[in-house]
C-alpha cells in the first residue's frame, strides 16, 4: 500500500514537526509512505475567498504530485475536504481517483488501516478541539446538531493513548473562528470565537488542546501565546506518535 503524504503548505513552512510526526506514525503503522517533493497547496485559500477560478494551477500541481499513489493522507481535515470537494482537471480520471482516495489522518487510521491498538503514551490532560471541516465535512465525528448516534474517530484513537485524560469543552463542537481568510477579514469575531473556545478548555484545566487541523490550532496558539497562557496546542499526530 503506497501512501502519498500530503503536507499542506503552511504546515510544511511553520509546523514541520507535525509533518514529521505524521510520517513517522504512518510508517510505524506499516505504510509505505512517499512525500512527493513538488507539492504546494490544495488551493483552498483562493477558493474560500471566492477565487476558485484561480486554483487551477494548484489543482494541476496536486494531481501531478499525487496521481500515482494508492492513498493520499494528510494531517488536515480542512485541506482534505477541499480536495475531496473541489479538485478538478481536464483529465477527470486522475482527479476523481484522488478525490475518492484522499483521507484525513485519523480517518485513514480508523477506516482504512482499522487500527485497534496504539502504543502511544501521553500522560496529560488534553482538551479536544473538534475542527468543523473534519467533523461536518468529512464526518469524523457525530455532530451536536443532528439526532444521530454519537461517535468520534479522533477520540477513539486518543482513548487508546496511555495516560491521556481527554476532555471536551462545554460546547463540544463550536467553531474556533479560524475560517481561512476569515481570520483576518473578520478579525474581531474570529479572535472572539477563539478566545471563547480557549476559555471553555481552561475551565477543564487542560494542559494541551489537540485537534486534527493545524490551522485551528495555529489560531488558538496565537491567542494563547498573546494571553501568556500555559496551555499548549499539539496536533493529534504528535500525540499518537509518542511512545
Amino acid at each position: 500500500m503506497k501512501v502519498g503524504l500530503f503536507i499542506p503548505c503552511y504546515v510544511d513552512q511553520f509546523y514541520p514537526k507535525v509533518a514529521v510526526a505524521t510520517l513517522e506514525l504512518l510508517e510505524k503503522l506499516g505504510c509505505e509512505v512517499v512525500f512527493p517533493l513538488n507539492q504546494t497547496c490544495c488551493g483552498q485559500p483562493m477558493a474560500n475567498s471566492g477565487f476558485a477560478s484561480l486554483s487551477e494551477g494548484c489543482d494541476k500541481n496536486f494531481i501531478a504530485n499525487f496521481g500515482e499513489v494508492d492513498y493520499v493522507v494528510s494531517p488536515s481535515g480542512s485541506c482534505v475536504l477541499h480536495v475531496k470537494e473541489h479538485l478538478h482537471d481536464q483529465n477527470e480520471t486522475k482527479a476523481s481517483y484522488i478525490r475518492r482516495n484522499i483521507y484525513e489522518l485519523t480517518e485513514f487510521i480508523v477506516d482504512v488501516l482499522k487500527v485497534e491498538n496504539m502504543v502511544a503514551n501521553f500522560p496529560h490532560k488534553v482538551g479536544m478541539h473538534i475542527s468543523c471541516h473534519g467533523q461536518r465535512g468529512l464526518n469524523l465525528s457525530s455532530m451536536s446538531e443532528l439526532s444521530a448516534p454519537s461517535f468520534s474517530k479522533p477520540a477513539y484513537l486518543l482513548n487508546m493513548v496511555k495516560g491521556l485524560q481527554l476532555s471536551l469543552p462545554k460546547r463540544v463542537d463550536e467553531c474556533c473562528g479560524f475560517g481561512g481568510t476569515f481570520c483576518v477579514f473578520e478579525e474581531a469575531v474570529s479572535v472572539k470565537m477563539g478566545k471563547d473556545r480557549i476559555t471553555e478548555h481552561a475551565i477543564n484545566e487542560v494542559e494541551y488542546i489537540t485537534g486534527v487541523d493545524v490551522s485551528c490550532l495555529m489560531h488558538l496558539e496565537g491567542i494563547l501565546k498573546r494571553q501568556g497562557s500555559s496551555v499548549k496546542t499539539i496536533h493529534i499526530a504528535e500525540i499518537l506518535n509518542t511512545h
Binding site: C9, V11, D12, Q13, F14, Y15, P16, A19, V20, L23, F35, L37, Q39, T40, C41, G43, M46, A47, N48, S49, G50, F51, A52, S53, L54, G57, C58, N61, C132, H133, M143, S144, E145, S147, A148, R171, E174, C175, G177, F178, G179, G180, F182, C183, V184, F185, E186, E187, A188, V189, S190, V191, K192, M193, D196, E221, G222, I223, K225, R226
Partner: protein
C-alpha cells in the same frame, strides 16, 4: 501601511451610510461583556432547540420530508399558486400580486386610502420588513403600530429587528425599561419584566381596539384550501385580525404548501427549530373573512423568481424563517443582527440578500467560517454553508471584490502553482520573520497580529527535513 489604506484595499465598501459586516462586528465586539451576553442568550435558544428535537425519534426523517415537500412545491410553484388563488378567491379573499417591494407597498397604501383607514396594526412579517413597508407608509403619513412585543420595542427605538424570530434579542431588560420609560411613561429604572410587559400589553390593547386595518404575515399558505396559517407566540396576529375590519396578509411566493396534511410536518419543524417549543402558542388558521370584514392576500415575488432561476441558490427559497441558523451561528451570536444590514440577517440572510442586491450585500457571504452548523440545524435541509461558498465565487466573478484582494489572490495563486517559487518564497518569508519579526508583528497592517502572536518560523521546512533525513 496606514490601516485606512489597508481597509480600502481589502474591504468591499458597502453602499450608503452603512458599515460592512466586519466593521460593524468589530464595533459590536468592543463591549466584550455584552457580546458574551448576546452569545449566551442565543446559545441558550440553540440548546433548547437541541433538547426539543432530540425528544422525537423521527426528527431527521421529518427534516427530509419537509425538504422534499418544499423541493416539490418550488418545482411546481406556478400550479400551486394558481390553485391557491382560485381557492382563496372562492372563499371570498381578495388576491393581489406584487412583482416587487414597491408594488407590495403601493397595494397596501391603495387599500388604506380607498378604505380611509387611520389606524393600522401589524404583527410580525419579515416580508414587510424586507419591503420597508413601515417607512414607506410613514412617509405618506400613516403610522403602523407593530404589535409583536419585540418589534414594538425596536420600533420605539427606531431600529430594525436584529433577529427574525426574536426581534429585540440584542436588547437587555434595562434597555427595554429605558425605552418604555421614554415612550410609555413607565417608572424610571424599573426593570421588572412583568411590569414592563404589562405596560406594553395595556398600550397595545388600546391600539388593537382602535385599529381599522391589520397586517399579518403568512407562515404557510395551503394551495388545496386557499387558507393560510400565521404562527405567533403572543396571539397578536389574532388580536389584530379579529378586531379590524380589514385583514391584509403579505406572503412571499415560496410560502405555499400543497395540502393541509403537509402543515403538520412544518408546524412540528418550525417551533422546535425556532425556540425549542413543541408548537407555537398560536397557530392561527384563516380561511375567509368574517361577515362585514375584508380579507386581502398580497402574493409577492420581490426577487424570488430570480433566485428560483439560480440552480445553485434556488433551494434557499425552502426557508421557513425559523432562525435556527441564526442561533447556532457562532458569527451571528458574536456580531449581532444589525451587522448584517439587511431585514433577514444570519446565515440564511447571507445567501438570500446577494440575490436582491449583489453590490450592497457582497460582504455577507464572507461573514462565515463555513463551519456548516447552519446546514445541520436547518429544518428543511438548505445547504446554507455550501451556498455561502458558491456566492463568494459568484460575487468575485461579477467583480464585487476589491483590487487589493484580487492582486493578493493572484499573487498567492501564482506562487502556489510553481513549486520552486513557493519554496523560495517560503524560505525568504520565514527568514524575514526570524530576523525582522517587527515587519510582521505590526498591529496596524497585519490583522492577525492585533490579538494573536505569529507562529514561529522554523529554519527548516518539512521538505528540507525530509530531503536531509529521508531521501
Amino acid at each position: 501601511m496606514n490601516p485606512k489604506n489597508f481597509n480600502r484595499l481589502f474591504f468591499v465598501p458597502i453602499q450608503g451610510a452603512g458599515l460592512s459586516h466586519s466593521a460593524a462586528a468589530e464595533i459590536f465586539n468592543k463591549d466584550e461583556e455584552r457580546t458574551d451576553w448576546h452569545d449566551e442568550t442565543l446559545w441558550f435558544v440553540r440548546e433548547k432547540r437541541d433538547k426539543a428535537v432530540k425528544q422525537i425519534s423521527e426528527w431527521e426523517q421529518l427534516r427530509t420530508l419537509g425538504s422534499d415537500i418544499k423541493d416539490h412545491t418550488l418545482s411546481n410553484l406556478d400550479i400551486y399558486l394558481a390553485e391557491f388563488e382560485k381557492n382563496a378567491q372562492a372563499n371570498g379573499i381578495k388576491i393581489h400580486w406584487a412583482i416587487d417591494a414597491e408594488e407590495h407597498n403601493e397595494i397596501i397604501l391603495g387599500i388604506i386610502r380607498e378604505q380611509k383607514v387611520q389606524q393600522v396594526v401589524k404583527s410580525k412579517s419579515m416580508l414587510t420588513e424586507e419591503c420597508h413597508l413601515n417607512d414607506y407608509l410613514a412617509q405618506r403619513g400613516i403610522d403602523v403600530i407593530d404589535t409583536d412585543l419585540g418589534e414594538r420595542i425596536v420600533q420605539f427605538r427606531n431600529e430594525p429587528p436584529s433577529h427574525i424570530v426574536l426581534p429585540a434579542i440584542h436588547l437587555k431588560k434595562q434597555d427595554v425599561s429605558e425605552t418604555f420609560h421614554e415612550h410609555l411613561g413607565t417608572e424610571k429604572g424599573n426593570n421588572d419584566p412583568q411590569y414592563l410587559t404589562e405596560a406594553a400589553r395595556q398600550h397595545l390593547r388600546d391600539k388593537f381596539i382602535k385599529s381599522q386595518l391589520a397586517i399579518t404575515g403568512v407562515n404557510f399558505a395551503i394551495a388545496s384550501t386557499g387558507g393560510f396559517v400565521v404562527c405567533t407566540n403572543e396571539g397578536n396576529a389574532d388580536m389584530g385580525a379579529h378586531a379590524a375590519k380589514i385583514h391584509v396578509a403579505s406572503m412571499g411566493i415560496e410560502k405555499i404548501i400543497p395540502k393541509v396534511e403537509h402543515l403538520g410536518v412544518f408546524l412540528r419543524l418550525l417551533a422546535r427549530s425556532a425556540t425549542g417549543q413543541p408548537i407555537t402558542t398560536y397557530s392561527s388558521h384563516f380561511h375567509q373573512p368574517r361577515v362585514g370584514q375584508q380579507m386581502h392576500i398580497i402574493i409577492v415575488d420581490n426577487g424570488r423568481t430570480k433566485q428560483l432561476g439560480r440552480p445553485d441558490f434556488r433551494s434557499s427559497l425552502k426557508c421557513i424563517r425559523c432562525a435556527a441558523c441564526f442561533n447556532t451561528c457562532p458569527v451571528y451570536r458574536r456580531s449581532g443582527g444589525h451587522s448584517y444590514h439587511t431585514a433577514v440577517a444570519g446565515p440564511i440572510g447571507s445567501i438570500l440578500n446577494p440575490n436582491l442586491d449583489m453590490k450592497a450585500n457582497a460582504d455577507l457571504p464572507f461573514a462565515s467560517t463555513l463551519c456548516g452548523s447552519c446546514s445541520n440545524v436547518c429544518p428543511v435541509k438548505i445547504d446554507i454553508h455550501v451556498q455561502l461558498y458558491k456566492w463568494r465565487q459568484v460575487l468575485v466573478a461579477e467583480g464585487f471584490t476589491t483590487g487589493g484582494k484580487k492582486v493578493a489572490m493572484k499573487g498567492m495563486a501564482f506562487v502556489l502553482s510553481h513549486p520552486s517559487i513557493y519554496r523560495i518564497s517560503g524560505k525568504i518569508g520565514r527568514w524575514i520573520m526570524r530576523v525582522f519579526p517587527f515587519i510582521f508583528n505590526n498591529k496596524s497592517f497585519n490583522p492577525w497580529y492585533k490579538q494573536r502572536e505569529m507562529p514561529e518560523a522554523p529554519e527548516q521546512s518539512f521538505r528540507d527535513w525530509y530531503k536531509k533525513n529521508k531521501k
